[in-house]
Symmetry: C2
Subunit: 513 residues, 2 copies
């Protein structure tokens, strides 16, 4: 018997997300390798799937080898075992903890429109409020085409895959759709599978109606209508959930109940919920103790011992929503206003270059470099560089920096949750002070134990960084421990259990489901 995470009716589960739980690669020696997908969401949901008797994960074939594997299986799901390492198993194999994975192969041109034009940057920019509306966006036929032939077409392809899986299970299943790539999927699946229970989790911010009005009428209408195919639409915060209801009310003219948090579409009532996502605390602490992380800790200790100085850390993708430039500007301002700190504090910025095919992102990366040069030129001392900028994706180094940081800076303009903040506080060895933007979902849980950053106020950020660096050690310890306790109590398991508990009555309500 497999353990079930909550008292869930015995129903098949179909998970849908762009990235999947495994990915295949053709190695230099010609062999095929398979790797576990990264990220908190994948970990959490893979855990769920593996504890259920019948679960299938529908995701994009992300590599050429994924596409080859998909074709070898005729586009149908394959069975993957995870322990001790991920591998494809056959039907006769009696491996435990298996998960079915259906890799959807998408035509590259179509995928480029879907992913590189619509999902990013368009939806990402709308949802993170990143457009300077005086000049952008400016929709032309090219964008409308990208929506219809890219985004909508890929959504149709995924909906078809999902509906096929549900139909294979006699139309009775719990479908868990994830994120901004698949807003049209729920309604399409609903049409073919009226007895499915469908939920959607949106992992990025959901802004109010005026932000959605940036999108052409057809796009915003289809996205909202697509999401109303769900039984439950869920977000990280109550504010995002309320904004979704306001969009249904103002853009579609539907009746909403802002107290009960529901919207009526036709004869169906959709519930709008919020569940703050989190991390797997035990797994993350285990990662923090691996040799790769220990090596970086040793190296960092040596580097810092040389200058005897304190450590400010940030770990982000080079995304304009992360507000990296203002963060450096604030750090420079702090050094200017508190010259006694010059040479005494290093800002280690681990920034993973991101989406460099998009001009806004290369421009932003250039601005980052420019600001770092200015601050370092003004405040360098012999043998000490105020900002240590590392443009790489290095998870062990990131985790090592969490362990040793005195201050962690998260000053995002907008962020659905921000897991960096949650990761750092549970592995800190120096009672780090969290300097946390009020515009992150995480601020709702951790704001009381953090120094709050106002993302647009450079002076306020400079003052807050100074306050963080000069906070008495007893207070640091108290706050860091309190923040860690919050994360320990609200870990990713709780996030998942809360959603499943809420959906259980829906599954039980209609026995025909």
């Amino acid at each position: 018997m497999r353990r079930r995470p909550v008292d869930l009716p015995d129903v098949p589960v179909v998970v849908v997300s762009h990235r999947g739980p495994v990915s295949f690669r053709r190695e230099a020696d010609g062999t095929r390798s398979v790797r576990r997908g990264a990220g908190g969401l994948v970990t959490a949901l893979a855990g769920l799937g593996r504890h259920l008797p019948d679960a299938v994960w529908v995701c994009a074939a992300a590599t050429e080898e994924d596409a080859t594997v998909a074709r070898e299986h005729g586009g149908r799901a394959l069975t993957v075992a995870f322990d001790p390492h991920p591998r494809v198993v056959g039907p006769s194999d009696d491996a435990e903890d298996t998960l079915q994975v259906r890799l959807v192969e998408v035509d590259p041109e179509r995928h480029a429109d879907f992913y590189g034009v619509v999902a990013n940057p368009l939806l990402w920019f709308v949802q993170h409020n990143l457009f300077g509306l005086a000049t952008a966006p400016s929709f032309t036929e090219r964008d409308h085409d990208a929506f219809r032939k890219g985004y909508a077409a890929v959504n149709e392809q995924f909906a078809d895959a999902v509906a096929t899986e549900v139909e294979d299970r006699e139309g009775r299943a719990l479908v868990l759709v994830h994120d901004y790539h698949f807003y049209l999927v729920p309604e399409l699946v609903r049409r073919r599978c009226p007895n499915a229970v469908i939920t959607h989790f949106v992992h990025i911010p959901w802004p109010g109606p005026s932000a959605w009005r940036i999108l052409p009428r057809e796009m915003r209408g289809r996205l909202l209508t697509g999401l109303l195919g769900n039984d439950v639409v869920a977000f990280h915060t109550e504010g995002f959930a309320r904004n979704f209801l306001l969009c249904a009310q103002e853009i579609l003219g539907l009746p909403v109940d802002l107290a009960a948090m529901t919207v009526d579409a036709g004869d169906r009532r959709i519930e709008v919920k919020h569940y703050p996502i989190s991390i797997d605390v035990a797994a993350f602490r285990a990662l923090a103790a691996t040799p790769a992380v220990e090596d970086h800790v040793r190296q960092l200790r040596e580097d810092l011992a040389g200058s005897g100085c304190r450590l400010v850390v940030r770990v982000d993708r080079t995304d304009p929503s992360k507000n990296i430039v203002r963060g450096f500007r604030a750090f420079g301002l702090m050094l200017e206003q508190h010259p006694e700190l010059v040479g005494q504090v290093t800002f280690l910025a681990l920034l993973q270059p991101s989406r460099l095919d998009i001009p806004e992102y290369t421009d932003y990366l250039a601005r980052i470099g420019a600001e770092v040069a200015l601050v370092n030129a003004r405040h360098a001392r012999s043998g000490h560089r105020p900002i240590d900028l590392r443009l790489e994706d290095n998870l062990p180094l990131a985790v090592a920096s969490y362990r040793l940081a005195d201050v962690l800076v998260v000053n995002a303009l907008a962020d659905g949750m921000n897991l960096v903040a949650k990761e750092a506080v549970v592995v800190s060895e120096r009672d780090l002070v969290l300097a946390l933007s009020e515009n992150t979902g995480a601020h709702q849980e951790l704001g009381a134990f953090a120094v709050t950053l106002h993302p647009f106020d450079v002076q306020q950020q400079a003052d807050a960084m100074y306050a963080a660096l000069t906070m008495p050690s007893a207070r640091r310890a108290e706050q860091c421990r309190a923040a860690a306790r919050v994360v320990e109590e609200n870990d990713v398991g709780k996030w998942l259990r809360a959603q499943l508990a809420d959906v259980a009555p829906l599954l039980a309500a209609d026995p025909s489901r």
Copy 2:
């Protein structure tokens, strides 16, 4: 006996706005001249004031001569008669239709911070959603200072002037505060005059909470708290009113009732209302028949007869919120996609240069010029210039162009109301087609009789302009007449009467007031 516009209790009225109903000037010959203030608001409220037994208008001394006049009167109100022409009258003068005007002299440096740093561009940009948040704004001590020593200080000065006028009337008065310059005034007046009935009309868009979170905590908190000193806060549309309540709920944590449209602050309940402003139809039609306008009509007819072509018109300030560049781009796209129209249609753009001390505005003006050059270079024919750009403030020419326009383009990104649309339809001689942005307040009243423009969708705008230019004449006539009827029925008198009718019970409710 003076006529009273509604059954209003016999109570003194204090109007507060940045621009006033009159302005003084020292002429070249050394004499002092006095002019009527321009604009619909001033006309409407001056009409109100002149029909009430005791009304005083508190406004900024806008010219040096205004300041001299203010000083001559020891900072107190002066009495102005309007018929047949505006003039200052003495207490013994028995002129009818007088209004008291209190000119508040503001220190120029303080005014520069108040007006040129905070009100424009900061509040204007926040409320019209114009910031590209990846890079701007970036608050420093300079901005905080401008708020405290400029905006707040000027608001205190105005509140002091208002409270003095109310106290001179034994604390019993109806105070009508106007627009984004004076968000702090109501609470300051409330403190000194608890028995006053205070209302505030916000003439520009009120965005949702996330837009206000761009402002530092102190600023947004003080602005909202200032407005909660009112008994009634009013906007042009229900959406703006709802956004205000959401701000009170999410930013201040106050209990709001989104059905009753109220918010509770302390022991007071504030009503949040919406009244779409309009124009004085009769006065505007009279203006359209003046010789100055007739001259321009004749000239325009000659110009157009030469090319025999149709006329698209826009009249705006060169403000990024007006979306001028995308409008020209759409016009160029239409010519590209419908080459048969090249040489057959002229886009007359009367653009009043605006706020050129602000870099964003000079940049935007440059972009306008650049786009016009591109379109004109691509589509010019011998003797015909596709876009006729005139960078001047010329009201008679604007009104003449309304009379002759085939299409009026209003494609604003965001606009509280937009009175150009209302003016044009009541004087059109060619059954103009209104091409109207869905993001204007006016679209709620006139959208049903207009071609709707999506401000960010250049292709859609090009299609809509083409549809407008090729609309069958019977349909044009029908729609234009229907739009004119809406404006005739909902003119500025109705706007004012509705507000006064709603406030009457408040004035009657407490006899101690």
